[in-house]
Assembly symmetry: C2
Homo-oligomer: 429 residues x 2
Amino acid sequence: MKSYREMDKNELLTAKAALEEKYKEEQAKGLKLNMARGKPGASQLDLAMGMLDVVNSEADMRTVLGNDTRNYGDIDGIGESRRLMADMLEVQKDNIIVYGNSSLNIMYDRISHAMTHGVRGGVPFCRQPELKFLCPVPGYDRHFRITEYFGFEMINIPMNENGPDMDLVEQYVNNDPAVKGIWCVPKYSNPTGISYSDEVVRRFANLHPAAPDFMIYWDNAYCIHHLYDDKQDEILNILTECEKAGNPDMVYMFGSTSKITFPGAGISALATSFANVDAIKKQLSIQTIGHDKINQLRHARFFGNIDGLKAHMKKHAELLRPKFEAVLTAFDRDLAGLDVGTWVKPRGGYFISFDALPGCAKKIVAMCKDAGVVLTGAGATYPYGKDPLDSNIRIAPSFPTPEEMEQAAAIFTLCVRLASVDYYLEKLG
Amino acid sequence: MKSYREMDKNELLTAKAALEEKYKEEQAKGLKLNMARGKPGASQLDLAMGMLDVVNSEADMRTVLGNDTRNYGDIDGIGESRRLMADMLEVQKDNIIVYGNSSLNIMYDRISHAMTHGVRGGVPFCRQPELKFLCPVPGYDRHFRITEYFGFEMINIPMNENGPDMDLVEQYVNNDPAVKGIWCVPKYSNPTGISYSDEVVRRFANLHPAAPDFMIYWDNAYCIHHLYDDKQDEILNILTECEKAGNPDMVYMFGSTSKITFPGAGISALATSFANVDAIKKQLSIQTIGHDKINQLRHARFFGNIDGLKAHMKKHAELLRPKFEAVLTAFDRDLAGLDVGTWVKPRGGYFISFDALPGCAKKIVAMCKDAGVVLTGAGATYPYGKDPLDSNIRIAPSFPTPEEMEQAAAIFTLCVRLASVDYYLEKLG
């Protein structure tokens, strides 16, 4: 196909007319698909239904250590669930506190706690004059909403194929004491799908923060969410690297089974240094009588161990792969060579990120919606919902069926082409 | 029996010698009983085991409205669980947000949120110069620990048989803008077991707080936790009374199934005005992806409706009553007429509160411990763990068996008598 960039006005107008006709046809089909959030599909949820049977009225409700999971106690999580989450996040069991059903809560809670009580005994954030947070972009909107809610000034850090721009990260963190943290999704990043290189992880671990209360918020949401058996990303362990670098307490790692068992009915975990674990357990004893240990038992018994967890994720991969490939096939087929945008082919995670031509993202999302395909709002992948280039679009292929995904992808590429033709027409004047 | 108060020195010394011998005998038995916390007994937990079967791998996982409880959504709780908690707390369904597994978390969260974001759009507590909180005493240690943690100055408000001393409450709340809240356990109070009279509830509703951000923290933990079929306390509904009084937004009510199904694996709820519910839902959408809806479904299906819940609590009462009566029988048998302390006979809840002679509580708790009976630490029922009279002791009869409870109660009354004899001996000089 000839690139739109190389077309003259007449060629573009001809292309546009054909695309518009196609768009009307698609609209007439009355499709209704929601890909706004990274929701697992029903077939994925079905895989975990057996978990609801392993702890029934006949079950032994005691932990390996003999504690009754039905009563108070084990505020940091039952041993077997801490072991499971430790193996998943590749840390030691004593690095782990198992929380409730959502790692987002843990992140919110860490920031909220820092606001009122400071980090590691430091001055509470709410008494500090200036608060800044680094936000690799495009990134996860729910991260950004937490730091926005607590009044941080959020600073965009461009992502590249190896992770955040570390020159910029170092410049901010090592010089500005108002910079209190950075949001990271280090593996199969939301939304770009890339994983941090070893060099990036090491540079994170070797930061020399100007702020004594700077922390890395390392959301390892997709740590075992591979799409392929043979092509898998692996990242260095940030806890180990921070320890080596003499910064053992500088990182909070988060994880959950939201996208392994059931979103909202999974278990979540915080992984951090022993010193941090000790301090946080003191806070926890004020905050809660403990998390749901029966659900922890359910998870531990259903998976048995990390091998069970990994085997389970292979089944997820088999369900997700065709959906991702439907999108990527459509991109290659409909967009390659047209100079209408760029995308990455992720090896895992939940998203495909598409960078449209500048100023086109909102238009594409709106056109998709008018043709029955709801995407994550344009701009959502940036702090304050403001994508300075109006370019990035997050595609969440997990919820629709592969067939629906093919239809949706065809509509998406159509809208991309339409917006791009307009873009080049405008450029020609 | 002759009152110790009326005994002369010789009589007291004779009594003491006999008691000391008895104490040694009890010590020799090597009993080991922990009554430190209000933990349900295993037989109570067994009553809820059927709940683990109602949501299994064959179950329809959709709510009445058709939403899949296994996926994201319903951030304020699924409709059927909101209905159940609304009926339990005697409010409307739209007054309810169903949370996770612990109402203590909700209380902590409300205070924490007020620290950083203020109450109803007011100045964040962390930016206000002075923060005070009223604490009816004796009260619940975990309440006090939350307000201590956030740096409130806690003010003791004496409890009487109708509730807190409302003259004092009004004096503080209506005049001091630093007073931001009051902790209440209005029904079968922790630990005194009394319930607030209608007049007390109405006076609460008709407060004219000097602080625009004053709130009543109404922990309705034992709302359906009756011990008897025929003798039941009922209290006025604080939400309704506040509305009538023109203070609709002034109260947060809390409840949970921690002491109905499983502590730590129950569901909890906040009940408050529609305006407050709306505001809190906005915060919730930042804080979490939602609570565990499968556990909500489990609760809703297991109980069916409020009648199922109440029938379940009758079974609890049958198990708890003998334990309470073992204590009260021992008190009547061993302590009545001796002038060694006072107690209330509760009609529900989880505790029996004993007021020993001044300066005796710590001694009694220590002696009990040396004879194998661990009680809640003396002082724990007061802010900062400081009982100014060193008098109050909380007894939690739920966890031991009735037989163990009889043994423990006999040891307790023995220790009370020993400490009291010493008290009167010291008085005589």
